[in-house]
């Protein structure tokens, strides 16, 4: 037999610490900076907030932020029309945002990826049926669907999560189906069939791992959409009910004071915008990072 063929050498010239540090430098710090507060506030809210977010103080209503005239450093972002500390309600609202965004997005990802995978892999009538279903879903206006669901289930956290799952699964299904269609035609899938591998084996060993990058990117982008949708549902009054707080609800309740106390709707609005932007930036970064080479994951 011929001599051995040289194998590639995995470059190990740099010490691990240096590699680790240079890796850190490439992280999307701006996006992390925008998302981190939601995570921290959402999880550790009760230990962080300076005041009880439900504490009504009618002597101190519509107090402006600390750096404006009439502001007070005990209420960093001012107070709302009931005298509640705006910063504390914002922290409290992060919990709803976090739960809704994570549970809603993961739920829709689970359903959407399964449907897209089955449709793309098996094709034929199954595919036609499932994609018709996705088309039907996409032809119904989102707002209408939310109002219908809200009417059927009643307002609350569950409504938001279910609405997001119902609204988002089709976007996952469509993209994943397309990807599965191309992956199905790859040589290694044909070869796996020739090697007598079962469909289950092919899906779990060949299709799913190669969809992982797409899934992660889709999830981060949909997280942003989920946050905005949550705000929309809360704004419509179909989400969480007072005295619980959610950012969308705060914008909704504060909009009447736009002329007199702009900070009441402005800060929750800003929080929604930044979190959404951060998650989109993270999605973009992940797409590039995962696209380049398989080595990152």
């Amino acid at each position: 037999m011929t001599g051995e063929i040289a194998l590639p050498n995995r470059g190990a010239a740099w010490p691990r610490v240096v590699k680790w540090a240079s890796g850190l430098q490439r992280l999307p710090w701006l996006a992390i900076l925008m998302i981190a507060p939601v995570l921290i506030f959402g999880v550790f809210g009760p230990w962080i907030w300076p005041h009880d977010p439900a504490l009504i103080d009618l002597a101190n209503t519509k107090q402006p932020p600390a750096w404006l005239d009439g502001g007070d450093w005990s209420h960093l972002l001012g107070t709302d029309s009931f005298g509640r500390d705006l910063f504390s309600t914002l922290i409290d609202g992060a919990r709803v945002t976090l739960i809704v965004a994570v549970v809603g997005t993961l739920g829709s990802a689970l359903i959407g990826v399964t449907i897209g995978l089955v449709a793309g892999f098996y094709g034929g009538r199954v595919d036609a049926l499932l994609m018709q279903l996705a088309d039907v879903k996409m032809s119904i206006p989102a707002t209408l669907l939310i109002i219908l669901l809200g009417g059927a289930i009643g307002a609350g956290l569950a409504t938001i999560v279910i609405s997001i799952v119902v609204l988002f699964w089709a976007s996952f299904a469509r993209v994943i189906r397309g990807q599965t269609l191309t992956l199905r035609e790859r040589g290694y899938v044909s070869l796996a069939r020739v090697a007598n591998c079962s469909d289950y084996w092919i899906i779990t060993r060949h299709i799913l791992p190669n969809l992982l990058g797409t899934c992660i990117v889709l999830i981060t982008i949909q997280l942003g959409r989920a946050i905005v949708t949550e705000a929309g549902i809360s704004f419509l009054g179909l989400g969480v009910q007072p005295p619980d707080s959610a950012w969308g609800l705060m914008v909704s309740q504060g909009r009447t004071f736009l002329a007199t106390a702009w900070w009441i709707p402005a800060f929750p609005g800003l929080a929604i915008t930044l979190t959404c932007l951060g998650s989109n930036l993270l999605g973009d970064w992940l797409r590039d990072a995962l696209d380049a080479r398989a080595s990152l994951l």
Binding site: M1, L7, P8, Y188, S190, R193, A195, S198
Partner: protein
């Protein structure tokens, strides 16, 4: 002659085109493979040649049962397998493996080389884990790679190395027939000879039979004992490699071989140039499909489908092929 290992009889593959308001009317069909018959001798190598789009790769897919056969028969070792399902299909695929053209698509980017080679062995379920990893190490050695390559990912290898891995996987089950679909077309010329020699070594060592699909006449001449020439989904000529190369009988085969550069520049045969485009397999020409580009076409060529004639050299499907003198 002993019974062939693989006997393909009048194999057909038609792809119906979807009808619709803005499409061609219903009934349009792509005749990808039409009445293709050939035999792969046990322990031998059959070459399948033809230009792009002539149905070579579709034939490979049909033989691997990756596409459904429209009509005709595939007999493997005497058993019909064109409609086999379940255990029968499994048993057939146990003996027939493949190596594809693109070594970049043959290996999943997220699976280690060792796992890729072990996959057919795991699916067969005949060996224990230890036996499988031993076999993988042995296979890597046999194709000229180091055993510790098993832990690496495909992107850490060159095209030639990947093709060696694909070959190791192809022979993992010790199949009797390996379908080589353009195994070296994607490789650099300098690597091709190495891979072809490896394939020949493996053939001797394990008594493999090959069906070599290629558009490269030199490779087919070098590797094959017999050859089948396809044009527009049909077999135009079939015979022993040596004889067909020495005196091709069908005008298409003549044109094909006249396009090969000779070893000596002064001994260049007259080049036969084919005019016009390859006809569409949706509306193949009537009669002989080659008539639109054939320098010898006559009226009869448009009217009758030429039968395959035994010319003494080969079997050629041409009205003007001279039959061998009946002895």
């Amino acid at each position: 002659m002993t019974a062939p290992l693989l006997d393909v009889v009048r194999l057909k593959k038609h792809y119906p085109l979807p009808g619709g308001m803005f499409r061609r009317g219903p009934g349009s069909v792509v005749h990808a493979v039409e009445d293709v018959s050939f035999q792969v001798p046990s322990g031998g190598t059959l070459g399948l040649i033809g230009e792009s789009g002539c149905g070579k790769s579709t034939t490979a897919k049909l033989l691997l049962r990756l596409e459904d056969v429209s009509d005709g028969a595939i007999r493997f070792d005497g058993t019909e397998v064109q409609r086999a399902t379940g255990p029968q299909l499994r048993a057939y695929r146990r003996n027939v493996q493949a190596v594809f053209q693109d070594p970049y698509s043959s290996l999943s980017p997220r699976r280690r080389i060792g796992d890729a080679i072990a996959e057919p062995l795991i699916a067969a379920g005949e060996l224990t884990k230890e036996q499988i990893s031993e076999r993988v190490a042995e296979l890597l050695r046999v194709v000229g790679l180091r055993e510790d390559a098993a832990n690496l990912y495909p992107h850490e290898f060159s095209g030639g190395q990947r093709q060696r891995i694909a070959i190791a996987r192809g022979i993992a089950l010790r199949p009797r027939l390996v379908i080589l679909d353009e195994p070296v077309s994607a490789l650099d010329v300098s690597i091709r000879a190495q891979i072809l020699n490896l394939l020949q070594d493996l053939q001797e060592r394990y008594g493999l039979s090959y069906l070599l699909i290629s558009h490269d006449l030199d490779i087919v001449s070098h590797m094959c004992t017999d050859v089948v020439v396809m044009y527009l989904g049909r077999v135009v000529e079939a015979g022993s490699m040596k004889a067909v190369r020495r005196s091709p009988q069908h005008p298409y085969t003549k044109a094909l071989f006249s396009s090969v550069l000779p070893a000596h520049p002064d001994r260049r045969p007259e080049r036969i140039k084919l005019l016009g485009p390859l006809p569409s397999p949706i509306n193949p020409p009537s009669g002989c499909v080659f008539r639109t580009r054939c320098p010898h076409a006559q009226a009869i060529c448009a009217e009758q489908v030429p039968a395959s004639v035994d010319t003494g050299v080969s079997r050629a499907a041409c009205h003007f092929a001279t039959p061998a003198a009946v002895s």
